[in-house]
């Protein structure tokens, strides 16, 4: 039997489906875990930001403006060390001008409008490769005095995601490495009777002997081939006998 077997096609199909299913499960799990960590990460930095906002608001309660809160810059510098993923903390006034910043060179610049909270609602944004939380700083009269912008990275998450991806990939690949060869073996084993049927058919049609099985179609085909062969042999013998006779004399 030349060429690939139908069992090969079925094996390839099953391989593709299994790899697809495993990839799908891995991708879904990865995305789910990523979302879980992102939410948790955001919650953590929101806690840090809310604490800072609270400190600024308490500072203003003694009657000073946001720009005049005592020790504001050193407060930001101290808070900056609370987590390794924390990249930048900025305090801007109501007009969006930077008053305090962990990157001091930015003081006096305009904060990116996309990061500033809308009214008294927090704003979440991804900007310049960082995740940002924009929180309003409100004075004791309920007026927005400015905003606290907290930018953080995803390095901590990335490490965990890589670890999860590797943890899934390892057993997944092992399962595929064990399962797929076994599946191929099983496919070829269960395909054997069908392949044998095809082989017997091909052999029979090519003029081979009697089929090994009593399959009705094979027996019928064999009988037909022999019958037609015998019919043609018989006709050939008769015609050769006619041709071998001496030419008839014309009347």
């Amino acid at each position: 039997m030349t060429g690939s077997s139908f069992a090969t096609r079925i094996g390839l199909l099953l391989t593709a489906l299994t790899v697809l299913a495993c990839t799908l499960v891995t991708a879904l799990n990865y995305l789910k875990f990523e979302r879980l960590l992102l939410i948790q990460h955001q919650r953590m930095f929101t806690t840090i930001g809310a604490d800072l906002v609270d400190t600024f608001e308490r500072g203003m309660n003694i009657g000073v403006r946001l720009a005049d809160v005592p020790g504001a810059q050193s407060l930001l510098d101290r808070a900056f060390g609370r987590d390794v993923d924390l990249q930048r903390i900025t305090v801007a006034d109501a007009g969006g001008r930077v008053l305090f910043d962990t990157e001091r060179v930015r003081i006096g610049d305009a904060a990116a409008p996309a990061l500033l909270p809308a009214g008294t609602t927090r704003r979440l944004a991804r900007f310049g490769g960082l995740d940002w939380i924009g929180m309003p700083v409100v004075n004791s009269f309920g007026q927005r005095e400015g905003s606290l912008l907290l930018g953080y990275g995803r390095a901590g998450i990335a490490d965990r995601l890589t670890a999860v991806a590797l943890a899934m990939a390892g057993p997944g690949l092992t399962a595929l490495a064990i399962g797929l060869p076994l599946a191929w073996l099983a496919i070829f084993l269960v395909a054997r009777p069908t392949r044998a049927l095809f082989a017997q058919l091909a052999g029979l049609l090519a003029g081979g002997g009697a089929p090994a099985t009593e399959e009705a179609m094979l027996q019928g085909l064999r009988e037909a081939i022999h019958r037609h062969g015998a019919t043609l042999d018989d006709a050939e013998r008769q015609l050769e006998a006619i041709a071998a006779r001496a030419p008839e004399r014309n009347a």
Binding site: S4, F33, Q40, T174, L197, F198, E215, T231, L239
Partner: protein
């Protein structure tokens, strides 16, 4: 005697088991690894959050200590901790203890589950203690005046609930992916085995029958490189050998005839004798025309239904989102129904035209046209930012759905082997139901992770695959003779002029869909909710319908073909369905409802394939048109169902309404039995000498 059918059946069964086992093994391995990794990796992240919360919460306490207030005299700590715990959704508890671990103040929803801490003699480098308690990760932060020695501990317990939720979610995802993968594997296996084993074997059987009858005018179609291709080439070589020998004998007869008149007569007699037993075609044998198979239509149908159902779970939500820009006097909730209604109306109205298109262009042409329209619709839906363009896109999807499904159904009817019409057409309902289950389940997951637009793009990709499969697997043409001249109106006149078809439609098909939409999708969920069942339990109960229907479809098709009791299954199914619904007012509702839903699924499943076969066999018009009118009737039944149920609800409770619909179904079944019996009598009298 070993039959080819036996070998093939065993092959299909064993391959299905292997596919299911391999998919199950690998997917479960990946998922278990994922769950383990979640557990391992999420703990440091939660502890990190707990540490941040601890530092923030401890800060005012430390300032107070720094001002010289002794630890034991700190006041208002319980209130403060309660405020802080309330502002942090992840916090399970906050506990302030002294250095010996004795609690001084506690707060938080899980404060009762706090277990006393025994501080170790040597503290870790960062000065924080960490431990895992059931459902909680705890971090203890030392409380000290700035620059001073620790005077107590603040214990922050962060709940694992979010992680546990994800793990539970993952388990459901695992079930969904497995279900979809196994169903997809079964459909693809069916397709590949049909093309590589069943189809070629049936072709070889046909060739063997031809050869046995001495017909050497046809060749097998070669092209495959596998075993089937080798056998086809061997068949053709045999036909060619026989043809060559025939040519030689013709030549020999001509040579013999040159010997004289008697020799010519004798040679001609020999050839005539051969002609009686063997038939050859002048110019050599030609390939046998391809007929295509039912499986060739089943896979495109399955994939198309998956494509359509991917968006089922979010279409109302997307509709409502898009409707927000509408004028204020129009309710977004009302407008959200527009895309759904537009789709359903397009499907219903386009179905007869889909039937006509199929009759004129053949199933392959109709699938390509329907697929093209649907793909455009999905693309439009992905790009739509307003409600009206979105509804227009859904109209295109509906037209495509109508054309493509009827084309696949027609292909199944055309390709059905002798005596297998019901089983073949039963495959239609099976493919639609499997596709619906897979599409809805996986669509919700894709939409959740990748968004609505990406899900519509996935539908476009699937429809392209559908079109490619149809191009490859379904032969060109097969349009019905005379179909080009038959308009939808003429077809409708012919179909509805046939009493058998009209009775089938009005007494069996429409009532079945009224029950499906009115009872299973409308009344049963209401009744179950009134019984106090949860949403998940209601979903599980409704799912019983599909679970019982799928095997019943196969059984119904088999019984109709083998035992020839298709008509009996149709009216018997209706009676059974009616009896199950009439049982609800008699038995306790909690028991009767699941039984009625399951029996309805089984009864409608049993009748489904015989109904399609009966419609196709009425013979009054083209098969695709007849099937399309049947589908149109079913859709009308689906629309009537909820309205009928709602109207009945205004006159009684859900149990009463279900009982009434059951009685109507049973009466319709009885009426169909009477019509069928009358038709049989009339046919018997017509055929009597």
């Amino acid at each position: 005697m070993i039959s080819t059918e036996h070998i093939v059946r065993r092959l299909v069964r064993n391959l299905s088991i292997i596919a299911a086992l391999v998919l199950l093994g690998t997917v479960v391995a990946v998922s278990f690894a994922a769950l383990g990794a979640f557990d391992r990796e999420v703990r440091p992240a939660i502890e990190r959050e707990a540490a941040v919360i601890g530092v923030v919460v401890a800060n005012p306490l430390e300032r107070a200590l720094g001002l010289g207030i002794p630890f034991d005299e700190l006041v208002g700590t319980s209130e403060y901790l309660a405020d802080m715990a309330a502002s942090q959704p992840a916090v399970a508890y906050l506990v302030l203890t002294d250095l010996a671990g004795q609690p001084r103040a506690t707060a938080g929803p899980a404060a009762a589950s706090f277990e006393p801490l025994v501080p170790p003699a040597v503290l870790p480098g960062d000065g924080m203690l960490r431990r895992a308690l059931p459902g909680i990760y705890e971090t203890a932060v030392a409380v000290a005046a700035p620059g001073g020695r620790p005077q107590g501990w603040l214990l922050v317990g962060v709940s694992r609930a979010a992680v546990d939720g994800v793990i539970e979610d993952t388990s459901w995802d695992l079930v969904i992916v497995l279900l979809v993968a196994v169903m997809l594997a079964m459909e693809l296996l069916r397709f590949v085995i049909d093309r590589t084993v069943i189809g070629p074997l049936s072709m070889i059987e046909r060739m063997a029958r031809r050869l046995s009858a001495g017909d050497c005018t046809a060749q097998a179609v070669t092209g495959a490189t596998d075993e089937a291709g080798a056998v086809a080439r061997a068949v053709n070589a045999l036909v060619r050998r026989l043809g060559d020998r025939w040519a030689y004998l013709e030549w020999l007869a001509a040579e013999a005839a040159s010997a004289g008149g008697r020799a010519a007569r004798e040679a001609a007699a020999v050839l005539d004798g051969l002609h009686d037993r063997l038939r050859f075609r002048d110019g050599g044998a030609v390939p046998e025309p391809l007929a295509g198979s039912a499986s060739a239509a089943r896979l495109p149908l399955f994939l198309f239904v998956v494509a359509e159902q991917l968006s089922t779970s979010f279409i109302p939500l997307l509709g409502r989102d898009l409707a927000r820009g509408a004028p204020p006097f129009l309710s977004p909730d009302l407008l959200a129904a527009l895309p759904i209604s537009a789709f359903v109306a397009a499907v219903a109205l386009a179905t007869p035209y889909g039937g006509r298109l199929t009759a004129r262009r053949g199933p392959r042409g109709a699938i390509l046209i329907g697929g093209g329209l649907a793909a455009l619709g999905y693309l439009g839906a992905a790009l739509a930012t307003e409600l009206l363009p979105f509804a227009a896109a859904r109209v295109l999807c509906g037209i495509g759905y109508a054309v493509l499904t009827i084309a696949c159904q027609a292909q199944m009817a055309l390709a059905a082997r002798q005596g297998r019409l019901a089983r073949s057409l039963g495959g239609f309902t099976g493919a639609v139901m499997s596709g619906a289950v897979c599409g809805t389940a996986i669509g919700a997951v894709i939409a959740d992770r990748l968004g609505y637009a990406a899900t519509f793009v996935a539908s476009v990709a699937l429809v392209v695959v559908v079109m490619l499969v149809a191009l490859r697997a379904i032969p060109r043409g097969l349009a019905e003779a005379g179909a080009a001249a038959e308009s939808v109106l003429a077809g409708a006149r012919a179909a509805f002029g046939n009493a058998r078809f009209t009775a089938l439609l009005l007494l069996a098909a429409v009532p079945a869909k009224v029950v499906l939409a009115g009872v299973i999708f409308y009344l049963a969920p209401l009744a179950l909710r009134d019984l106090g069942e949860s949403q998940a339990a209601i979903g599980r109960n409704v799912m019983l319908y599909g679970l019982c229907m799928l095997p019943a479809i196969t059984l119904g098709g088999w019984l109709a073909d083998r035992v020839r009791i298709g008509g009996g299954l149709i009216w018997g199914g209706a009676l059974l369905n009616g009896a199950a619904l009439l049982m609800i007012p008699i038995l306790p509702e909690a028991v009767a409802l699941p039984i009625a839903i399951a029996v309805t699924g089984a009864a409608q499943g049993l009748a489904s394939a015989p109904m399609l076969a009966a419609a196709a066999a009425t013979g009054s018009g083209s098969t695709p048109l007849l099937l399309s009118f049947l589908r149109l009737g079913e859709r009308i039944g689906s629309v009537i169902g909820p309205f009928a149920a709602a109207w009945l609800l205004t006159r009684g409770d859900t149990v009463w309404a279900m009982g009434v619909l059951g009685a109507v179904t049973a009466l319709a079944g009885l009426a169909y039995a009477v019509v069928q019996q009358a038709g049989r009598r009339a046919a018997a009298m017509g055929s009597a000498p």
